[in-house]
């Protein structure tokens, strides 16, 4: 210690005339660009999935109704209680759409404490238009954005046979994919059968497959089938699709069914221990709609008989969907579970011919019409009456039934939906087997922007060597005009479709007649649309029933204007498996209510 040490502190005086460093007006000081300030929410982008609420460790967020729910949007929006919020921004990080962000605003005066509980984006705030504030870097990182790729058989291996293409996830892949689910449940409303999607996906993560199977068959007796061919509307409502791929819900469903040994199915699905009601129900058509209704009704204790015209049950699942997409064993397993519930299926019986509707009505307490759409439409363009012009549904049926079908070297398909892809790919396989090469041209009215068939169908068809031309309007099936081949099909003449919809989005095709093409082929297959074969109803019942634009009129529960008759599936709605399943449930519920009332009235 020295004298210098006594003087040294006085050097501080040199600062006495310096300008103070104090911030003069702290209330207008702008925070940094990244500052985690008050919340903003792009209300149109937000889907109300509640992931923000789930991650908030302060329980500061409530989901409150703001608009009507619709597909993929719950209509709920987050309300934040600033009495609890700690501005950690995990809600911003987890946000599935990127709608929730933060401004760099941090000053807010109000005398009313409740003002600090607000709905960002709905309750207008001065910082709503702020460009600055916390943004997560590089998108959503707190839940997976990329779908686990499904392994498929290579095109050259699959084109010569009808083996199933999709391999299915193994355990590790499925767990990874299931992990991405945020359990918001937006998909449940969109699924026609309202399957417990987040719950069964959870069973995959937890490895509890038996519980998963139970959940599946609770709401869908065609889980094996839907695990393969469902139109998976759920995936279009999936929250994960906004900044990444939707969860592969369909493949996860299949994974559960793959993991449980079939001999455990009936035990797990379980048959409720109910007394027989003694009431009888006849179901016309063993497709997904009819059999789902049968499954439910049998489990409710009723005696159910399903009448099927074709040789085997399954409807379009068997006779429409090709085996490489849905192996028959999978279908048979689902049907086996349904039969185990006590459902009787009588195949090769055509109602209206072998048994009349009147007799069905007389012998049963209720009848369900679930006859699907089994007649193919024709374009009726000139030449379409030629015997070399086939209808896709008919041809698919014959292929399944093992009948001999003509397999020319070149085939033209009209249509751009999944049925067109099914027949094109089935014929391609037969061509490969018979001729060693594929010669299929698919002409679709729709452009690829508005294509009907699933993207993956288009991709896989092309991999298999099928040519797909979009925006082609069929004008004429060209036939040989003379000689020994007179009347034989030579090809299809098409015009280019300039525009297919008018400005209101309605079908109004406009052709460019100058852009004409002729597609060579010895066979033309029409795969454009289907219609129900309602002739089995007979004239009297057709007259007695009320109709709604070509289809049997039904109420919400699927009941027709005839109190003993219900209708379900593609013939009244659809067309796809899961809608038919949903219909089956609805009809079964309704019938049961009526039958219970009948029993009570008698008692």
């Amino acid at each position: 210690m020295s004298f210098k040490d006594v003087l040294s502190p006085f050097t501080a005086w040199k600062h006495v005339l310096e300008t103070p460093v104090t911030i003069k007006d702290p209330l207008t000081r702008e925070a940094a660009d990244r500052y985690r300030g008050f919340h903003k929410n792009d209300i149109e982008l937000c889907i109300g999935c509640s992931s923000c609420e789930a991650i908030c460790q302060n329980a500061a967020i409530d989901m409150v109704p703001v608009k009507d729910p619709k597909e993929g949007d719950s209509g709920l929006r987050p309300q934040i209680d600033y009495g609890r919020c700690c501005w950690c921004a995990l809600c911003v990080d987890i946000c599935m759409t990127g709608s929730l962000t933060m401004s760099n605003e941090y000053i807010w005066f109000d005398e009313d404490p409740d003002a600090f509980r607000f709905i960002p984006g709905v309750d207008a705030k001065s910082w709503d238009s702020s460009e600055k504030g916390y943004r997560r870097e590089g998108g959503r990182r707190l839940s997976g954005t990329e779908r686990v790729e499904m392994r498929e058989m290579e095109p050259d291996l699959r084109i010569g046979n009808f083996d199933e293409i999709v391999a299915g996830y193994d355990r590790a892949e499925a767990v990874l994919e299931a992990d991405r689910c945020v359990e918001c449940g937006l998909c449940v409303a969109t699924c026609p059968a309202h399957m417990d999607i987040p719950d069964y996906i959870k069973t995959i993560r937890e490895g509890d497959y038996e519980h998963g199977l139970e959940l599946l068959y609770n709401s869908n007796p065609f889980s094996e089938v839907c695990g393969r061919v469902c139109t998976h509307n759920c995936e279009t409502a999936c929250a994960a699709r906004h900044e990444g791929d939707p969860i592969a819900i369909r493949w996860l469903k299949r994974h559960i069914t793959d993991q449980v040994p079939y001999d455990r199915y009936v035990d797990i699905v379980g048959k409720p221990d109910l007394a027989k009601t003694g009431q009888k129900i006849a179901i016309i058509g063993a497709g997904p709609g009819g059999l789902t209704a049968a499954f439910d009704l049998a489990r409710m204790g009723h005696a159910v008989t399903v009448y099927e015209e074709k040789e085997k049950p399954g409807g379009m699942m068997r006779y429409g969907i090709p085996e490489y997409r849905l192996p028959y064993e999978s279908l048979d397993r689902d049907i086996g579970v349904i039969e185990a519930m006590g459902v009787k299926i009588k195949c090769g019986v055509r109602i209206g011919k072998d048994i009349s509707m009147e007799k069905l009505k007389a012998d049963n307490d209720a009848v369900v019409l679930a006859i699907g759409l089994h007649l193919g439409r024709s374009t009726r363009v000139p030449g379409s009456e030629s015997p070399d012009v086939e209808k896709a549904v008919e041809l698919l049926r014959r292929i399944t039934a093992g009948e001999e079908v003509p397999v020319p070297k070149k085939v033209v398909v009209i249509g751009g939906g999944n049925v067109a892809m099914d027949i094109a790919r089935s014929m391609a396989r037969l061509q490969k087997q018979r001729h060693g090469e594929v010669g299929i041209t698919v002409t679709a009215l729709e452009s690829f922007d508005h294509f009907l068939a699933d993207e993956e169908e288009v991709v896989e068809s092309r991999e298999e060597g099928i040519e797909i031309l979009d925006s082609r309007g069929p004008q004429e099936v060209i036939t040989v005009k003379s000689g020994k081949n007179k009347g034989k099909v030579k090809g299809l003449r098409t015009w280019r479709v300039d525009s297919i919809f008018d400005e209101k989005g309605r079908f109004n095709p406009h052709y460019d007649e100058g852009d004409e093409m002729v597609h060579d082929g010895e066979m033309v297959i029409e795969a454009i649309g289907q219609v129900s074969d309602v002739s089995l109803l007979g004239e009297k019942l057709t007259e007695a029933l009320e109709w709604n634009r070509g289809r049997v009129k039904i109420d919400h529960d699927g009941r027709t204007s005839e109190p003993w008759l219900w209708a379900a599936g593609d013939c009244v709605k659809g067309p796809d498996v899961i809608n038919a399943v949903a219909d089956g449930h609805r009809v079964a519920q309704s019938i049961n209510q009526v039958l219970v009332a009948m029993r009570e009235a008698k008692a």
């Binding site: 109300g48 409530d62 719950s74 709920l76 937006l186």
Partner: protein, 177 residues
């Protein structure tokens, strides 16, 4: 290095398996109660584990036991060693080591308060530490439910209500299904 130390001690003190799954330079080992003091002493005086990093407990309520973790550090060799000791949860009495590391008295006092584990002989072990006037069960035990406590003690803010997207959509979009 850790393995060599372990090998020197394991038979004499009937140590459990050496658990080195976490990170490099850190290992855990199960220890029988009667060997706590000799092992600690030997580790401190012979093996260079002079620094007691921490002493704490884990409640394995489903196994009806507490795990006491004594975490030691050998600075020269850059090794951390965790000794795990099982205590019967229903007879939670530990052995004080304040004479080996005086600072352990603080840890033991906290364990007494938060887990209800007794350390007879530890200085001031029964004095209140963090929780003055606490009468409920020791709060770090697993069966103390913080949420229930909070709900009993504090009122929720009025008017808070939330909806589950799935249930809300069901209620509006398909009430009859």
């Amino acid at each position: 290095m850790m393995q060599a130390i372990y090998d020197r001690l394991k038979d004499r003190f009937q140590l459990g398996a050496l658990d080195v799954r976490s990170r490099k330079g850190l290992a855990f080992v199960d220890l029988r109660r009667e060997f706590l003091r000799p092992v600690l002493t030997e580790l401190r005086d012979v093996e260079g584990f002079t620094h007691l990093i921490l002493l704490t407990a884990v409640d394995w309520i489903e196994d009806e036991r507490f795990q006491l973790t004594y975490l030691l550090n050998n600075r020269q060799k850059n090794l951390d060693l965790g000794l795990r000791l099982r205590l019967d949860r229903n007879l939670a009495i530990g052995e004080t080591i304040h004479d080996l590391w005086p600072t352990a008295a603080t840890y033991q006092r906290e364990l007494r308060e938060m887990f209800g584990i007794a350390f007879p002989g530890s200085p001031r072990v029964d004095e209140e530490f963090i929780l003055e006037g606490w009468t409920d069960m020791p709060p770090y035990r697993r069966d103390f439910d913080t949420l229930a406590y909070s709900q009993q003690t504090h009122a929720d803010r009025e008017g808070r209500e939330t909806s589950d997207p799935r249930e809300f959509m069901k209620q509006i979009l398909y009430p009859k299904d």
